[in-house]
């Protein structure tokens, strides 16, 4: 994972706010007269907007997300099918002729049945049907909603909890740090997929209940929970390391010297400097979380039917691989494109927040 250098401490100008970055650095600090130097967030926002590949990736991501959000519209107004109920007896119209969705197989050895392939007609099974006669295109759009939702939610949760854990461990030190670090060591050493598999086997069979929180066995919260737990150490360890160095810096020592409270030191001096690291991690973790979700779903221990995700559709497409390859190929391409855009966006955010990395990188 790339180590990210810290921005110059922002000391008394009023802490930078994360929202500034989102708004492209619209608001400055908290002071009355406009500061002579623009805030680091504002500079970073400008840099990010000027970064062509990051903006292009962002545009593609927005398109994919919008298309997936429009899944119900596509299903009801364009495709006129329900992609969650099987439709084995159904028919559709190709070139003006009515054909069955599931036809007798003429290819290969088996006497099995074969769903129709891509018709390239959005109103009539654009990408064909799956073994249950469901519209593959509509399922891919619905699946994208789940895949992207799980990826983004997990990334935000990972970074949120990792920041808290890293801050607490690094700032307070002592036995708190010792305990947290050992727990992170254990999570870190756990083989990611096997840990995920262990958790999903258990959670998917029984669901999960702690006090008032109950997560049903088929719920999307199960993969989110699993992915969050397995990747927390990946972000929390660098955050903790950075807090440890920050704590020794002069401006924090000065804060301790004038008697600032722990809460104030964390909120005003440490957190703003750690946030840059964490923000850089969000798109990268979203890409990793998405790839992990799709892999778990491919193994049928992620998103559970009747819900779809790009991983489950690739899994569905496995049995049709040689006869109707589009079912497995299209979601895979979408996963790769989305992950690529998230990675490019992550690179752009890193370059914007850490000008020295860009100098080193010579981009």
């Amino acid at each position: 994972m790339g180590e990210v250098a810290t921005l110059p401490p922002d000391g008394e100008q009023g802490g930078p706010v994360a929202a500034d970055l989102v708004r492209g650095g619209a608001a400055g600090g908290g002071g009355a007269p406009p500061p002579p130097v623009p805030s680091p967030w504002r500079l970073a926002g400008h840099d990010l907007v000027r970064n062509k590949s990051a903006m292009a990736s962002f545009a593609v991501l927005v398109l994919i997300v919008l298309a997936c959000l429009a899944a119900p519209l596509y299903a009801s107004h364009i495709a006129h099918t329900d992609p969650f109920t099987s439709n084995i007896e159904g028919t559709t119209v190709v070139n003006g002729q009515t054909v069955k969705l599931i036809q007798q197989s003429t290819q290969g050895l088996g006497l099995g049945s074969l769903p129709i392939g891509p018709t390239w007609d959005p109103g009539h099974y654009f990408l064909g049907a799956d073994v249950q006669g469901r519209d593959v295109m509509a399922r891919i759009l619905y699946g994208g909603r789940n895949t992207i939702f799980i990826g983004l939610t997990s990334a935000v949760l990972i970074c949120f909890f990792a920041t808290i854990i890293g801050l607490v461990a690094g700032f307070f030190g002592g036995w708190i740090d010792y305990v947290i670090s050992r727990v992170l060591d254990v999570l870190w050493a756990f083989p990611v997929y096997l840990f995920a598999i262990s958790l999903s086997v258990v959670l998917l069979t029984s669901g999960f209940a702690i006090g008032p929180v109950h997560i049903g066995a088929g719920s999307l919260a199960v993969p989110i929970l699993i992915i969050t737990v397995i990747f927390i150490a990946y972000v929390a360890r660098p955050v903790r390391g950075e807090v440890l160095t920050l704590r020794e810096r002069e401006f924090v020592q000065a804060g301790i010297g004038v008697g600032a409270s722990d809460w104030r030191l964390i909120r005003r001096d440490i957190l703003p400097n750690v946030l840059t690291t964490v923000i850089v991690f969000i798109p990268l973790m979203a890409a990793i979380a998405m790839l992990t979700e799709s892999a778990l779903s491919f193994l049928s221990i992620g998103v559970q039917p009747p819900n779809a995700s790009w991983g489950t559709i690739i899994n569905d497409g496995q049995s049709l691989l040689y006869s109707r390859p589009a079912v497995a190929i299209v979601p895979g391409v979408l996963i790769a494109v989305t992950a690529l855009c998230l990675n490019l966006l992550g690179d752009g955010v890193r370059d914007a927040l850490d000008p020295s990395a860009r100098l080193r990188g010579g981009a």
């Binding site: 050992r182 083989p191 990611v192 997929y193 209940a209 193994l299 895979g332 690529l340």
Partner: protein, 322 residues
């Protein structure tokens, strides 16, 4: 140094024991999970359930169950499967190990060679068009889901082209090296490549940025001032320094793969390795096998983590001060 090695060893044992307890608790003590109910099947009556529970020792207190399981796994090595009664778990894992090792070592050779080529080329041609092109290719490689790439590879090589261009590709599965080295090699070429793709992208990018960073350091400037050739500066000075990051990352990924992270590739290509064993025992909830494979995997990861740390400590005396 000895003190550091000992303390690192102690923490290794600690992590390993913690993982074994954690895995055990996940399977046997998660609220709402009843292994006996899974073994007995759906709608088993209470008497059957109690009998099953007793015969598998599931009615004992949890710490006792844990200790018995660990004893059976490590000392007597006669832990048996819950599903295929009498089938011992340890030999099963030992039989799957060569498959996983064959897959992972071959892929690692590929990914180290190509990642170094990619990283060195990009760093040496920094600022020219080849650099961003290589880095973009690397990013694409690491964004492709490997299991999907495996499926597409199967589609291309096992379908219509199988009779012509890809006639050399054996059907999916594994041939032991001792049985037929040629078939072993041919059968693994594609899995190796598919597994290596993502790592080549990742390591090539990591190596390039680490090389570029090294180039801005004083000792490289000194080397340039001495009039050394660019090739010598790259290979003898910069690359050697950058390999520290590379090797420590490599240790972790290699360990994770040996420990079953190659699961998806094994499933897609039908290779009966550790990952496939775990996956198959998942389907019938065979707890002892899952527990054993996860612990086996954790063992590799923890061990290689410790080796990487020791390697660091040898190279950099500052790390030894714990």
């Amino acid at each position: 140094m000895l003190r550091f090695a000992l303390s690192r060893f102690a923490s290794m044992i600690f992590v390993f024991i913690s993982i074994s307890i954690l895995v055990f608790l996940i399977f046997f003590a998660t609220p709402g999970v009843d292994p006996a109910a899974r073994i007995a099947g759906r709608n088993a009556d209470p008497a059957t359930l109690a009998a099953v529970r007793h015969s598998f020792g599931l009615d004992r207190p949890l710490p006792v169950q844990y200790l018995i399981m660990m004893k059976k796994l490590f000392i007597t090595q006669d832990l048996t499967s819950f599903v295929n009664r009498g089938q011992k778990v340890v030999p099963e894992i030992l039989a799957a190990t060569p498959v996983t090792i064959s897959l992972v070592v071959g892929a690692a050779v590929l990914w180290v060679i190509f990642a170094i080529l990619m990283g060195v080329t990009a760093a040496a041609r920094r600022g020219r068009p080849i650099d961003p092109i290589l880095m973009a290719v690397g990013l694409i490689m690491l964004s492709i889901p490997p299991y999907w790439l495996g499926e597409v590879t199967n589609l291309i090589t096992q379908d219509r082209l199988h009779s012509t261009v890809f006639a050399w590709v054996p059907p999916l599965g594994y041939t032991p090296f001792s049985q037929n080295p040629t078939q072993w090699f041919l059968g693994l070429v594609l899995p190796w490549t598919v597994l290596a793709v993502g790592y080549i992208g990742l390591y090539g990018r990591v190596l390039r940025s680490s090389l570029v960073e090294t180039y801005s350091q004083d000792f490289v400037r000194t080397a340039k001032a001495k009039g050394l050739s660019p090739r010598r500066i790259m290979l003898r000075h910069a690359l050697r320094t950058s390999m520290i990051t590379f090797v420590s990352l490599f240790g972790l990924d290699f360990a994770a793969l040996l420990g079953g992270a190659a699961l998806l590739i094994e499933v897609v290509f039908g290779l009966p390795g550790i990952g496939k064993l775990t996956y198959d025992s998942l389907e019938n909830f065979d707890l002892p096998v899952i527990l054993a494979t996860v612990l086996y995997a954790a063992f590799f990861v923890v061990l290689l983590n410790a080796i990487v740390d020791l390697f660091y400590a040898v190279l950099d005396p500052r790390v030894r001060r714990v």
